[in-house]
């Protein structure tokens, strides 16, 4: 079972990755634009995640985590 998952995972990721064209270090200008950053505004992102965390059962994925609260 474990081996099966390993193979599926590996194949899946290799397929995805082989689809990407190598991007040279000097060709990353578009990716370096502020609007392409995954974390646009750390403070606001943390506030949003904190709010959703205290109103919804699900959390996680965005990292940071930390710091509980007695939120009602």
């Amino acid at each position: 079972m474990k081996i099966f998952f390993r193979l599926v995972g590996l194949t899946y990721m290799l397929v995805i990755l082989s689809a990407c064209t190598p991007v040279k270090p000097w060709q990353r200008g578009n990716l370096a634009l502020p609007q392409m950053a995954l974390e646009v505004d750390a403070q606001e992102a943390a506030l949003r995640q904190h709010t959703f965390f205290s109103k919804e059962a699900a959390s996680g994925g965005y990292g940071g985590g930390g710091g509980g609260c007695g939120c009602n």
């Binding site: 990721m13 190598p22 040279k24 060709q27 990353r28 200008g29």
Partner: protein, 169 residues
């Protein structure tokens, strides 16, 4: 968790092998001569060999590169200080859109030579892996130092090297 980790490593390994590019240049090699247009005018070509006899700081940069915002003001000061002793800075711009480079230079003015390698042919030949990467080339055209990235504190070391090379015959 364990199997994912193994996957990630396997993938990194596979890709690491498949994307290895042209052989990077090393210290002690003669800097390959290029001919590139200037940023401001595509008709005006410059060869690296034109600067032979000077100590050259050859910088591959782009407007979007964060350490380049640190390096430009410091390089401009260094250039003004040593240009009369035979020091030259040649900054090769790698922006896809030259407009972005012009906007950058409005904020961070530079009086040294700015060239443009639109196709990335020479960045490839010089084996650039980080933006910025710079090469300090001596009067004979030999690469004496390769500098990846740029931190504020690096300028002191660069100045020492430049002074040392200017003193060489």
């Amino acid at each position: 968790m364990k199997f994912l980790h193994a996957n990630a490593l396997a993938i990194a390994f596979t890709l690491g092998l498949s994307t290895s590019s042209a052989q990077a240049l090393e210290k002690g090699e003669v800097a390959p001569d290029f001919s590139l247009p200037s940023l401001s005018s595509a008709q005006q070509m410059t060869n690296l060999s034109q600067y032979r006899g000077k100590v050259i700081y050859l910088d591959f940069w782009a407007s979007w590169c964060a350490p380049c915002r640190t390096s430009f003001p410091l390089l401009e000061t260094l250039y003004r200080q040593y240009k009369d002793q035979g020091f030259m800075i040649v900054a090769v711009n790698m922006d896809e859109n030259p407009k972005a480079a012009h906007r950058f230079l409005k904020t961070y003015p530079a009086s040294f030579d700015i060239l443009r390698d639109a196709e990335g042919q020479w960045a490839d030949r010089y084996g650039i892996e980080t933006m910025p990467t710079s090469f300090i080339i001596d009067k004979k055209g030999v690469i004496r130092h390769i500098h990846n990235g740029f931190a504020k504190a690096d300028i002191a070391d660069i100045e020492t090297t430049v002074k040392h090379l200017l003193a060489e015959k």
